[in-house]
Amino acid sequence: MSPDKNTPLGQTQIKRLEQYKDRWTSYGANTGIVEISEKPTPAMLKKFEIFQEYDDNFLEKISPDISIAKWKKNTVLFEEGSYVDVAFFIASGSVDVYLKKTGEASAANPIFDRSRTVIASDAQSAGSVQAPAGGQTFFQAQVGKQERSGTQIAFLSAMDFNLPVGGAKTLGSGDIFGEIGALSGWPQSVTARSTSQCQFVQIRSAAIRMMRKRSKAWSARLDKIYRDQALLSQLKVTPLFRGLGDDFLQALAAKMELVSCEPDETIIREGEPPGALYMVRSGFVKLSQKYGEGNIVVSYLSKGSTLGEIELLLEGSAGWLYTASSKEYSELIKIPREEFVQLIGEYPNVEKMLWQSAVARIKESGYARKNIRQSEFINTALDKGLVEGNSILVIDLNVCTRCDDCVRGCASTHDDIPRFVREGDRVGDFLVTRACYHCQDPVCLIGCPTGAIRRAAVGDVVEIDEKLCIGCKTCANKCPYDAIIMYDTGEMWPSDMIPEGLRGKEQQIATKCDLCYTDPAGPACVRSCPHGCAYRVESLDEFQQLLWKA
């Protein structure tokens, strides 16, 4: 533990301005931006219809996160699977969106956390999964891709567009695209290419959120796009709604309310009358209950988890059993009580699954109430982001002789540059090192100008391609867990470097754990530990098992 560590969030804010410049230029460096105006004035922005309802002060405030750019014809804006935290508003010109990587795209990715959702595994084992259009189920597709055993993780890509395989769609002036990925941190599901010279207003997610909060209309507009383009197909592959009739689902989707939450925003309060079923689309929701004089955390929700089934299924519930608050940004779907009643009336299978979920939640929260350490653990896990982790390096300090062989092992497999340092937070008698967690929703991927940081071909691994990295620090600053480190190579960027701004400057490269995924023997840190005290935990359950039982 470093006693004087700045919070990562603080660093992010301080450096934002600095980065800002890099970001836009790098987008345009070799992808065909003809002209770009950064930090546009409110007057400039007012020219576009989407900004017309906002006052100048607000526009001034959000302007650092907006740019106006002219793109050449036939330029690829982004590709399928890339993480972009920018929404594009087409001011003029036209854009084609299409599925390049056929097959994979048909395996639409659901919005649920498979490590956590009881429903998912039950639905699968019941065999009631209908193969979605495209012929291959998500699971089949996943099984082929999953190299590592343990919990299977959904490879998330937002269904921005309801497109058939190999299909394409042309967007024209006035359309917005890319915003779903930007808001939820999902990879783009399509490739976008300009078909004529275009002018875009490029809005970063921070600005989108602010705009959305400020304006009901803007919010409704985005919701509508989401509802039209993506929601239905996402719902179809969600375990809970799988097998529902298309017409029913369409009607349901129309009634659904999309809820976006700020960090620490309270969604429901314990005791208040329950009126709807919530389902988490992205982010994490903390569930707490009254305990003593205050609240304790009893459980949490992740993607695909539902909230409210207990209260709605048990007729005459007095009120919410939990206080739910959002951890970081999160997106939820709200299904009003009437629709819910109709749903379970028509589909007893759904009710059955919800009952299971309810029972599991009651069990878990009951357990946490009785065992304060469990509550504390969930709280810590949410605070430290352990819930995100697909592979967290933890070290049993009762055994660890502090020999640093793990770091050395890491270094020797990565050109003598270690990708983590044996430092971090202590949870129980374990040290949670600041090695990459390989998050379910890797925020580090968002905004990488070159796509150097990406999901590797294997499972949930996030890797950085050093050849592509330009040292912009976006990922390092994005990572809430300090797991990405900028390494001074001691060299200068070459004179033919693109972007030009870097030429002759000191070279820094982002480095982070890649789980040694190319080595079938597994991560070097674990293999190099002489005392067997280094573990890669792939879920909270495993971590708890280690902490208390094993």
Binding site: E364, Y367, R402, R408, D541
Partner: protein
């Protein structure tokens, strides 16, 4: 979560299989030796003694491979833990086989005395290291809230000092005086102390008592600053404890590694001498 699912993950740091295999090997060896000694005479020169000797040297070379595994993780020769378990149990077996090789007699000749003595020393220092490695991490973890990388401790202490000095500048004279006289010395550098072996907290209760008296005469604002100073001081003490014990965890290797390299050479000379003469 816990009450619902059961996950198959266990602490790998325990290795009862190895221990059982070790005990079994020791029993087999002693049994073989007993049977052997009943029917034949065993000394280093005959076939029985020679077999034990060859086994011992093989074990020693195998154990030495752990050093290579540690220094060249890139070679990718199996898990480090497997090697270290082999190192520990194999090394102990090595000593047993050396005893068997010499028929549980004292050796004759200068080279053999050196061999015997060094083997014993290296084995005992190794077992001492194992004991340290079992003992120190537990007290480090149970007694301290801070975790630190050994190499960074001086740097971390320097950081604490910088922050403390910055804080002190804003304080009134009594606190500054107190800092200069009582605390500054402690924050100057890592101070390894033997007391940490006995009491991991290093007598923190009595060492922080000096703050109490001063606190009475301070304003609320100053008291708060003094509290911060005290917490820095406590952190520093914990870092000292880390420094002391982690140093031991590193230094014991000096008693083990250099001499074990010499031992390797001695064994080579011994083999040469036996082979040549």
């Amino acid at each position: 979560m816990l009450p619902i699912k059961s996950i198959n993950i266990s602490r790998r740091s325990r290795s009862p299989e190895w221990f059982q295999a070790f005990v079994l090997s020791v029993v087999i060896c002693l049994l073989a030796y007993g049977i052997n000694a009943f029917f034949f005479e065993i000394n280093a020169g005959n076939w029985w003694g020679l077999t034990y000797g060859i086994l011992a040297s093989l074990l020693m070379v195998g154990a030495a491979f752990y050093g290579i595994r540690r220094r060249k993780p890139g070679l990718n020769i199996g898990k480090s833990q497997t090697w270290v378990l082999f190192h520990i149990y194999g090394g102990t077996m090595f000593m047993l086989l050396v005893f068997m090789h010499s028929g549980f007699h004292f050796p004759a000749g200068a080279l053999n005395w050196w061999l015997w003595g060094l083997s014993l020393w290296v084995t005992i220092s190794g077992l001492f290291g194992v004991a340290l490695q079992q003992w120190l991490p537990k007290i480090l973890t149970s007694g301290l809230s801070v975790e630190a990388v050994y190499e960074r401790i001086p740097e971390l202490i320097a950081q604490i000092r910088t922050r403390a000095e910055k804080l002190i500048e804003t304080c009134t004279d009594p606190v500054q005086e107190f800092y200069r006289k009582n605390i500054a010395v402690a924050l100057a550098a890592p101070q390894p102390k033997l007391i940490y072996y006995l009491d991991i907290t290093g007598g923190i209760q009595s060492r922080t008592r000096q703050f109490e008296y001063l606190r009475r005469v301070l304003s609320a604002d100053e008291q708060e600053k003094l509290d911060r100073l005290e917490s820095m001081f406590k952190t520093k003490l914990e870092l000292d404890a880390h420094y002391t014990l982690q140093k031991a965890l590193r230094l014991w290797l000096y008693t083990h590694v250099p001499l074990s390299i010499v031992l390797l050479l001695l064994v080579a000379l011994h083999l040469y001498a036996v082979w040549y003469y």
